[in-house]
Amino acid sequence: MQILEKTLNDSLSAQNIPLRFTPHYDSLWCETDDQTLFLALAELLRRLEARVCMISAYAKDEAHELVYHFDCGGVMANVKLYVADRCVVSITPLFKSADWTERELSEIYGITLHNHPNPQRLFLDDSISRSVLDEYYSLSSMMNGRVSETLWNKIKAQKEARHG
């Protein structure tokens, strides 16, 4: 991990990118709110043959934090990006491995992806509103309970029609 930390930080310095990785537990962490710097950092990680393992998103106050988890030679390099306006530049053109996880955070948190090659819904149907995680859906209204209720209403209506 120390070797990767030095390699990354030396490369960032060489390219005048004002970001630094620091160790925490058994992985490296870095933070920024500048999407241009983030993209430069992603390009650097691509040259180091990193892959995107996952992107974790969560709402923070009025904004969002996205944590990009890169595997770089067996060490996790985590980059935390603060997003204030629900818009983020896509890194899928650099990392095909980011494709699904970017689409998922977009549909769950209503974050718009710029420059994503295929910004379609991943799991959720188009009829469900964006940023679905901000709303509460009871399971019964979404699944079998809803089916049963709809079915039962039909049965009751038919029964009433038969018996006047």
């Binding site: 537990y25 058994d26 974790s56 996880t101």
Partner: protein, 362 residues
């Protein structure tokens, strides 16, 4: 020839779980030109549910995300909690966690190989694989009292221990079945009919495997070495000796072969655990108050790398908890594997990534 789009799913007897395939055939109407897949039929919003439960309750929920890799979810989740809470898990528990994971891996790989046999209509081979798997299902029942969800892990250690009788039972099960696995390997390497049926089907070239970031046996069958147990060792793996199985052809046969040899490696690991099992506690008696912090953990599930991210704000419930399962990364590879293969092989190729839709969609 008729070039009608072929539809498979979302619910079909050839599919273990719901997926909707839209297959565009080539001009011969028998082979695949391209394939599109629609997901989301078993999306349950579990990542939202876990934010409403406390850390101990989430131990139970993570075990229910998936059946076949049900041990890896609570195991990896526990590792994330333990990192934030700075809990040093006792060594005996670390070894027992390895034992649990490897027995689950053996049973999971045998199930996938049984399904492969079913999809090529070799009923006798399917029976042999599933009979062998039964020995490990019985073993799980003896050790943990359950055949699928083992409830082996807890925050700070494990919930079970081994006595001399159980150790002898595990050794007997391994002794009886290792030879059986070698006979399967012999068959997959020398049975011409079987090789002709599987060789060259659903090829994923190495460069595509790297580009897509695929994981697990799918990656290793294309020559990509990213076994988490070796590259980022956890639990007791750093102290144990095993080989990462690599093949180069990237086809259905290679993926089956990787799984067969991995069963042998898992047996080696289980034997080492039994021989070197440290004395001591199986769990620390910790409170489930997790301090503020965030951590990432990962493990090598039967299908490949499983990643958990956990963020705590010091309350009883997580602020964010996210996980990414192996099938999530392997899915897009189907679009490389399938073109120019026979339409009738869609389910066979799909099975060769050992898909878990419930895990993937959560």
């Amino acid at each position: 020839m008729d070039k009608t789009t072929v539809i498979l799913g979302p619910f079909d007897v050839a599919l273990e779980e719901p997926v909707y395939f839209k297959i565009e055939p080539n001009d011969d109407a028998r082979t695949i030109q391209s394939v599109d897949m629609v997901n989301g039929f078993v999306h349950r919003g579990i990542e939202s549910i876990v934010l409403q439960k406390n850390f101990l309750q989430n131990l139970i929920i993570t075990e229910k995300v998936c059946a076949l890799c049900s041990n890896n979810h609570p195991f990896t989740y526990c590792m994330a909690v333990e990192k934030i809470a700075r809990i040093d898990v006792p060594m005996r528990a670390q070894y027992l966690r390895v034992l649990t994971d490897e027995i689950k891996r053996i049973a999971s790989h045998l199930f996938n190989l049984g399904m492969l046999s079913h999809l090529i209509h070799d009923g006798a081979l399917m029976r042999d694989f599933l009979e062998t798997r039964e020995a490990f299902q019985d073993l799980k029942e003896r050790i943990w009292g359950n055949r699928m969800d083992l409830s082996a892990n807890t925050i700070g250690g494990v919930k079970f221990d081994l006595d001399e009788t159980l150790i002898a039972t595990i050794q007997t099960t391994l002794d009886h079945n290792e030879e059986v696995i070698w006979r399967f390997i012999e068959r997959f390497e020398h049975d011409e009919a079987l090789i002709n049926r599987l060789k060259g089907v659903g090829v994923l070239p190495r460069e595509d495997a790297i580009r897509l970031g695929v994981v697990g046996p799918v990656a290793r069958a294309s020559g990509v070495d990213n076994d988490v147990r070796k590259h980022a060792p956890y639990a007791a793996y750093a102290a144990l000796d095993f080989e990462v199985i690599l093949k180069q052809d990237g086809d259905v046969l290679s993926r089956a072969s990787v799984r067969l040899y991995e069963i042998i490696e898992s047996m080696k690991l289980v034997r080492q655990v039994l021989n070197a099992l440290p004395q001591g506690e199986i769990a620390l008696h910790v409170k489930t108050i997790v301090p503020e912090g965030e951590a990432l953990s990962r493990s090598e599930a039967p299908r490949g790398e499983l990643v958990y991210y956990l963020k705590s704000n010091g309350t009883r419930k997580p602020e964010r908890m996210k996980w990414r399962v192996p099938t999530y990364m392997n899915w897009e590879a189907l679009k490389i594997m399938m073109p120019n293969n026979a339409i009738e092989d869609v389910a066979l190729i799909f099975n060769s990534i050992d898909p878990c839709i419930s895990c993937t969609e959560r």
